[in-house]
Amino acid sequence: MATDPDNRFDGPDARGHFGPYGGMFVPETLMHPLQELRQAYERYRSDPQFLAELNADLRDYVGRPSPIYHAERWSRELGGAQIFLKREDLNHTGAHKINNTIGQALLARRMGKTRIIAETGAGQHGVATATVAARLGLQCVVYMGEVDLARQEANVFRMRLLGAEVVAVKSGSRTLKDALNEAMRDWVTNVDDTFYIIGTVAGPHPYPAMVRDFQTVIGREARTQMLERTGRLPDALVACVGGGSNAIGLFHPFLHDPEVALYGVEAAGDGLATGHHAAPLTAGRPGVLHGNRTYLMEDDDGQIIETHSVSAGLDYPGVGPEHAWLKDLGRAVYDAVTDDEALAAFHALTRIEGIIPALESSHALAYAAKLAPTMARDRSILINLSGRGDKDMHTVASRQGVKL
């Protein structure tokens, strides 16, 4: 596994394809703006001044590098591999999302765009976008499904405090996918002055590659940190996958290290057998949605079906095209854990390590908790702790019958 003589891990190609996945499946009106974005991104990604500004912001504003933490008590309890956490939860705004919004907002400013739009599910990407828009003095509109708006009230309030306009999306299933639809419609209408900051590694080219590149700071840091700490690379990486930005950000710098196993964890919701889940890689099939070809949750007519997960950030019927490709290549393994398993891991980390994880990240923790006992004690697993759980207090409390 994982030797790569044909450079299959080095996608996308010039037209944005990862094998059969990815691409630019958008209405004609967006093709020229996407071309402009690609040109701007290609210019600035190697521009020393842009990179210096980005890196200074990641250090001074986000608080990078984020540490890795050896969860010794939890490792002992699980009785197998040593578990390390990449602490993206300690970033400004509480998740990995800001690594990407900082990058895209700096790009937007260089392109002369004055208005920022974004979609959000759990609200983390919306908050991270509103935050950088506030800092750069850019107008900001965030689209959010009505259902998500109700279950993430605190984040909605945070976005409004930061000066963003939060628009409730009432079409379709009124969740993340519909917020993305609405943001695309806004962009088609306001292409001249508007920059669309997509929050994950999905969407049309160049977004999957661009968002990945901004998020690979996670994996690059983690690689150095693990080598410093343990003298070698981790044996396994585990990350949750909704759209898949935190996972690809961690995985990508390790793709050419065949000794490092990669595990992406989707949301099995009530269980894969119930159909109430959000696990396109594990239980879906390839199709085209939101500008790219990838694994989707769809019915026999090609209609996108509603997803379910306790975590709003994983509640999405598609997944980044690079994950689809890594699955087909066998370079990464994708599996799913249920709401109940994620909650059990949420409580375990909270009680044993004193770290309250986001429900999204709890899916990665739950999978690692199953993986660790199958590995020897001198082995190591690095989990991307992609966000903190403060935003999930209401969800966790209500599942326990507690009213806050």
Partner: protein, 268 residues
């Protein structure tokens, strides 16, 4: 074989501009669509654009989004739409029908399977909103093998390079989206559209249809002076929405409305 080139050639010989109405198949229920198609032809429609409902219509404004949701509530999908065209063809062998929608339902059916079934049902072409020429080669090949046209969009943001690229692959006609935005959006500026069509005509010899933002007979007539086809969608669909509780009235009301557009266009 596609009926589209013959239709445009006949109109050109008469010095007339085509009227192309769009409705979402299955809106507000599946029984309405075929009688409505016949009523639109009787009222002067030259080609029918039939929207294939898709759960995530990113290029559509609220009017057509709601029409899509009404149709999906009746589980109308691509297969049912092909059945409707088959039924329509039992009594109309001449009016071209173009399916307009998004790629994913076609992906599920498979390009070759879709092309074969569409051709057998009597479809003449497809306009797949989220397939630009960069992604369309396989679909074009599959449709062409069955004698079907793939209609492409051009937009105000399309550069000369993109117009060239579309000229290479488009067939039937080319649909110029007159405003930046979603269906049903904004106000069309006829002078601006006329100006935009000049460089397009230099590169594309196919008939040019203009749509988005045509809501009244005056605008339809003005567009008819510069385009080969006037495409009207949301203005029809919003009238249908008002009659969603009284669906048997729809063919009559929509036929009458198209009649006003038809006479305005013919007096261009």
């Amino acid at each position: 074989m596609s009926r589209i080139p013959g239709m445009f050639a006949a109109l050109k010989a008469e010095g007339r501009t085509a009227l192309i109405p769009f409705v979402t198949a299955g809106d507000p229920n599946p029984e309405v669509t075929v009688p409505l198609m016949h009523a639109m032809v009787a009222a002067g429609a030259d080609l029918l654009e039939l929207g294939v409902p898709f759960s995530d219509p990113i290029a559509d404004g609220p009017v057509i989004q709601r029409a899509t949701e009404r149709a999906l509530a009746h589980h109308v999908s691509l297969r049912q739409v092909l059945d409707m065209v088959r039924t329509f063809r039992q009594t109309n062998a001449t009016t071209p029908v173009v399916l307009m929608g998004y790629l994913n339902p076609i992906e599920v059916m498979g390009y070759a399977g879709f092309a074969a079934q569409a051709s057998a049902a009597g479809v003449d072409g497809a306009l797949v909103v989220d397939v630009p020429p960069e992604e369309g080669a396989d679909l074009v090949a599959a449709l062409r093998a069955q004698g079907l046209d793939l209609v492409y969009l051009l937009a105000p943001t399309s550069t000369a390079d993109r117009i060239e690229a579309i000229a290479q692959v488009a067939s039937g006609f080319v649909y110029y989206v007159s405003v930046k935005g979603v269906t049903g959006a904004g106000h069309l500026d006829v002078a601006e559209v006329a100006q935009r069509l000049v460089p397009i005509r230099e590169r594309i010899s196919l008939p040019l249809g203009v749509g988005f933002g045509i809501k009244d007979p005056q605008t339809a007539a003005a567009v008819a002076r510069v385009a080969d086809a006037v495409i009207v969608g949301s203005a029809i669909v919003s009238r249908m929405e008002q009659l969603a509780e009284d669906p048997q009235a729809i063919p009559g009301v929509i036929g009458a409305y198209l009649g006003t557009l038809r006479s305005a266009i013919d007096q261009r």
